[in-house]
C-alpha cells in the first residue's frame, strides 16, 4: 500500500531535467553484465558435462526449453518497441529504454543458441528427428517427413537461423537502440525529430518482418520437435506467450531498478498500471489462442493433429495441462482484472513472478513431452519424473547469459531515453482518466 501511495504522489509528473537527476544509469550494476556472461558459460559447461549418459539428449531438451523461453521475452521487447513507434506512442517513452536494451541484445541470443545449431548440424543427438530422417523416423512417418525435406533440412535451418538473428540485430540493435541512444545527448531540434520520425517509418516494415521471423523461429525451434505435427496458429501462440513473458519481466525489472534507487520519480504507478493492463490483455489473448487451437484440434479429431495434445493431456502430463488452463489463464485472469491489483506494485509483482513461472512451464509443456515421445520413455512417476536437473542448470545458464547480454548492452548508457523528443509529454502521463 505504501508503494501505491508514494507513487501516486508523483502522478503529476516530473520534468526532463529532474529525470536526468533521477539516477537514470546502471552505474555499479553494469558490472553484473560480464560476470553473468562468464557464469553462464561455466554453468553451461557443467550442465553439458554432467549429462553425458544419454549423449546429452535430455540436456538438449532442457536447453531448447529454456532457450525459447528467454528468447521469447526479448522478442516481445522488440515487438513492443516497434509497435510503440508505429503508434507514435508517447506514454511509453520513459519506460522504452529497457525494452530497447532487450531488443538490442536479442541478437546475442543467437550466440546462446549456437549449441542447438551445432547439435543440429553435427546430427549426433536425436532431438530434432528430421535431422536424420533415414534412421530416426520409421514407417509411414518417414515418407511424410521426407516430403518436408525442402524445409526441414540442416542447411536451410542454419540459413534461417542466421537470417533471424541478422534481422533482429538490424531492427533491435542498429535501428531502434542505436537510434534512441543517439538522441540522448543530441540538442533539441529538427535533426533529433527526424531521428524519431525515421524510427517511426522503419518500424512498420520492421514489425512485419519481425513477426514473420518470430513465427518461423517458433516453428523451427519448437514445432519441428514433432516433425509430423502442425498448426497454423503456432506463431501466434508463441507471440501471445512472448508478450506475457515480456510484460512480466518489465514489471519486475522496474521494481528491481526502483528498489536500487533508480528512476524512482520517473516511473510511476501509472506505468505499472499499464503493464498490468497489457499483461491482463495478453493473458486473455493467450487463453483465446490456446483455447482456439486446442478446441479446433479436439473437435476435428484428426490423428496427425491430436497426437500433440494426446501426449500432453494423458498420463504424467495431465496435471500440467490443467495447470495451463487454470494457472496460465483462469487464475491470472481473475487476478489481473482488478484495478486495485494493477495499481499496487507489490501485488502486481507477485502476479508477474507467477506469470513468468507459468510462461516457463508453458514452454516446458511444449518442448519436453517430445522427449518422452522420441525416447518412448514412460516416466510413470508423475511430473516429477519428467523433470530433470538439467532444466535448472539450463535455466540458470541461459538466464545468466540473457541477463548478462542485457546488462552489457545497457553498460554506461542511460536507462531512460533522456533525449527523446516526446520525453516531457511522456513524463506527464496519468491514465486513470485520459
Amino acid at each position: 500500500m505504501e508503494a501505491t501511495v508514494s507513487a501516486m504522489a508523483h502522478s503529476h509528473g516530473i520534468t526532463p531535467e529532474q529525470l536526468r537527476k533521477d539516477n537514470p544509469f546502471m552505474g555499479e550494476l553494469a558490472k553484473i553484465g560480464p560476470i553473468a556472461l562468464v557464469v553462464a558459460v561455466v554453468l553451461f559447461a557443467i550442465g553439458y558435462l554432467m549429462s553425458g549418459a544419454d549423449e546429452h539428449q535430455r540436456f538438449f531438451f532442457s536447453y531448447i526449453h529454456n532457450y525459447v523461453f528467454f528468447t521469447s521475452i526479448s522478442i516481445g521487447a522488440l515487438l513492443f518497441t516497434l509497435v510503440n513507434h508505429v503508434a507514435r506512442a508517447s506514454w511509453s517513452v520513459v519506460i522504452r529504454r529497457i525494452p530497447e536494451f532487450f531488443a538490442g541484445s536479442l541478437w546475442m541470443m543467437g550466440i546462446a543458441g549456437l549449441p542447438i545449431l551445432i547439435m543440429v548440424l553435427t546430427g549426433k543427438v536425436e532431438v530434432y528427428e528430421w535431422v536424420n530422417i533415414g534412421s530416426w523416423i520409421h514407417g509411414a512417418e518417414q515418407q511424410i517427413v521426407q516430403n518436408k525435406e525442402a524445409y526441414l533440412n540442416t542447411t536451410f535451418f542454419a540459413i534461417r537461423y542466421f537470417i533471424y538473428f541478422a534481422a533482429f540485430f538490424l531492427f533491435g540493435r542498429a535501428i531502434l537502440l542505436n537510434g534512441s541512444l543517439k538522441q540522448d545527448n543530441q540538442p533539441d531540434g529538427d535533426e533529433k525529430d527526424r531521428g524519431t520520425m525515421r524510427m517511426w517509418q522503419l518500424s512498420a516494415p520492421g514489425l512485419v518482418f519481425s513477426f514473420l521471423l518470430m513465427t518461423f523461429f517458433a516453428i523451427d525451434m519448437i514445432m519441428s520437435l514433432d516433425p509430423i505435427w502442425f498448426s497454423t496458429m503456432f506463431g501466434v501462440y508463441y507471440f501471445a506467450g512472448a508478450m506475457i513473458g515480456f510484460f512480466s519481466t518489465m514489471i519486475l525489472m522496474f521494481k528491481w531498478l526502483q528498489s536500487t534507487g533508480r528512476l524512482k520519480e520517473a516511473v510511476t504507478v501509472e506505468h505499472y498500471h499499464d503493464f498490468g493492463k497489457f499483461l491482463f490483455a495478453f493473458v486473455f489473448f493467450w487463453g483465446y489462442i490456446a483455447f482456439s487451437q486446442y478446441m479446433l484440434i479436439w473437435y476435428a479429431s484428426i490423428p496427425e493433429e491430436t497426437r500433440w495434445f494426446h501426449i500432453r493431456q494423458n498420463a504424467d502430463w495431465t496435471p500440467l495441462s490443467w495447470l495451463m488452463l487454470f494457472g496460465h489463464f483462469a487464475l491470472p485472469f481473475a487476478f489481473f482484472i482488478s484495478r486495485y491489483i494493477k495499481r499496487h506494485n507489490g501485488l502486481l509483482a507477485v502476479g508477474a513472478v507467477w506469470m513468468l513461472v507459468l510462461h516457463w512451464l508453458d514452454h516446458f509443456y511444449q518442448v519436453v513431452p517430445e522427449y518422452q515421445r522420441i525416447t518412448g520413455v514412460q516416466p510413470g512417476g508423475g511430473l516429477g519424473a519428467a523433470f530433470d536437473i538439467s532444466e535448472i542448470i539450463c535455466l540458470l545458464a541461459i538466464g545468466c547469459f540473457w541477463f548478462g547480454a542485457f546488462m552489457v548492452t545497457a553498460g554506461k548508457n542511460p536507462i531512460a531515453p533522456l533525449g527523446d523528443p516526446q520525453i516531457a509529454k511522456s513524463l506527464k502521463f496519468d491514465n486513470v482518466k485520459v
Binding site: 483455447f291 486446442y294 478446441m295 479436439w298 473437435y299 479429431s301 482518466k433 485520459v434
Partner: protein, 200 residues
C-alpha cells in the same frame, strides 16, 4: 481562455412568495468551473452538482465525488451469465431427466461425449458478455436514476446550453447547508458568468 481578466456576473434576485428550488451558476470554461467546484466542495455542500457538455478531467476530484462502483454489478451479472451458460448446456444436452420433469435431450454427435466442455465454452462466454453488457447499461441507468424527466435544473431557461458549450454548478435548496443569502454570496464569489435563481 480568459482566466486572468475579471468576469462580470449577472445575478438574479429571488421572487417573493415563490418556492426556491435552488441556484444555478453558469461558467464559460472548464478552469473556472473546476475552481468553483473546489470552493463549493470545501464549503461542505452535499446536494449539489456540476453539469458539463462532456466529462471533464479532474472534476471528480474537485467535487470530492466518490468513484463509481458499477463494476460490482457487472461482475455479479457476468458470473451469473457464465454459470447460466454452463448450467443450460449441461441440463439440455448432457443429462436426461426421468419422470414428469422436462427432460434434456442427448445428441450423439461426432463421437463426442454428451458432456464435452470445450464445445460449451463459446456459449458460456457469450452469455457472460451478454449479461455483463446489460448490467453495465442498466446498472448505470439505475445508479444514475435515469430516465428522469423532471429535475429542478430543468426549470431554467439557460440550462439547455449545458449540452452545448456552457458549464454549470447547481445547488439544491434541499441541501442541509443551503441558505438563501449565504449560498448566494458564496456562489457570487466564484468566476461564473450568470447566477440564476430557480423557482417553482
Amino acid at each position: 481562455m480568459s482566466q486572468t481578466e475579471a468576469k462580470t456576473m449577472t445575478i438574479e434576485e429571488p421572487t417573493e412568495g415563490r418556492k426556491l428550488l435552488g441556484y444555478l451558476l453558469e461558467f464559460d470554461n472548464v478552469d473556472d468551473l473546476t475552481h468553483g467546484a473546489e470552493k463549493v466542495r470545501d464549503a461542505g455542500y452535499s446536494n449539489w452538482d456540476c453539469h458539463t457538455p462532456f466529462p471533464v478531467h479532474g472534476l471528480d476530484h474537485a467535487m470530492g465525488a466518490k468513484p463509481s462502483h458499477v463494476q460490482w454489478i457487472v461482475l455479479a451479472c457476468g458470473f451469473t451469465g457464465l454459470l447460466t451458460g454452463l448450467f443450460i448446456q449441461w441440463w439440455m444436452n448432457a443429462v436426461v431427466h426421468q419422470g414428469n420433469v422436462v427432460t434434456g435431450y442427448q445428441y450423439f454427435i461426432s463421437g463426442k461425449p454428451f458432456w464435452s466442455v470445450p464445445a460449451n465454452i463459446p456459449v458460456m462466454f457469450e452469455l457472460t458478455i451478454l449479461f455483463s453488457a446489460f448490467a453495465s447499461f442498466f446498472g448505470m441507468l439505475g445508479v444514475n436514476r435515469l430516465p428522469q424527466y423532471n429535475h429542478f435544473t430543468m426549470y431554467s431557461e439557460r440550462f439547455g446550453q449545458v449540452t452545448d458549450d456552457k458549464f454549470f454548478i447547481s445547488i439544491s435548496s434541499e441541501d442541509p447547508k443551503f441558505d438563501v443569502g449565504k449560498t448566494r454570496d458564496m456562489l457570487s464569489g466564484l468566476k461564473g458568468t450568470y447566477l440564476e435563481v430557480l423557482e417553482d
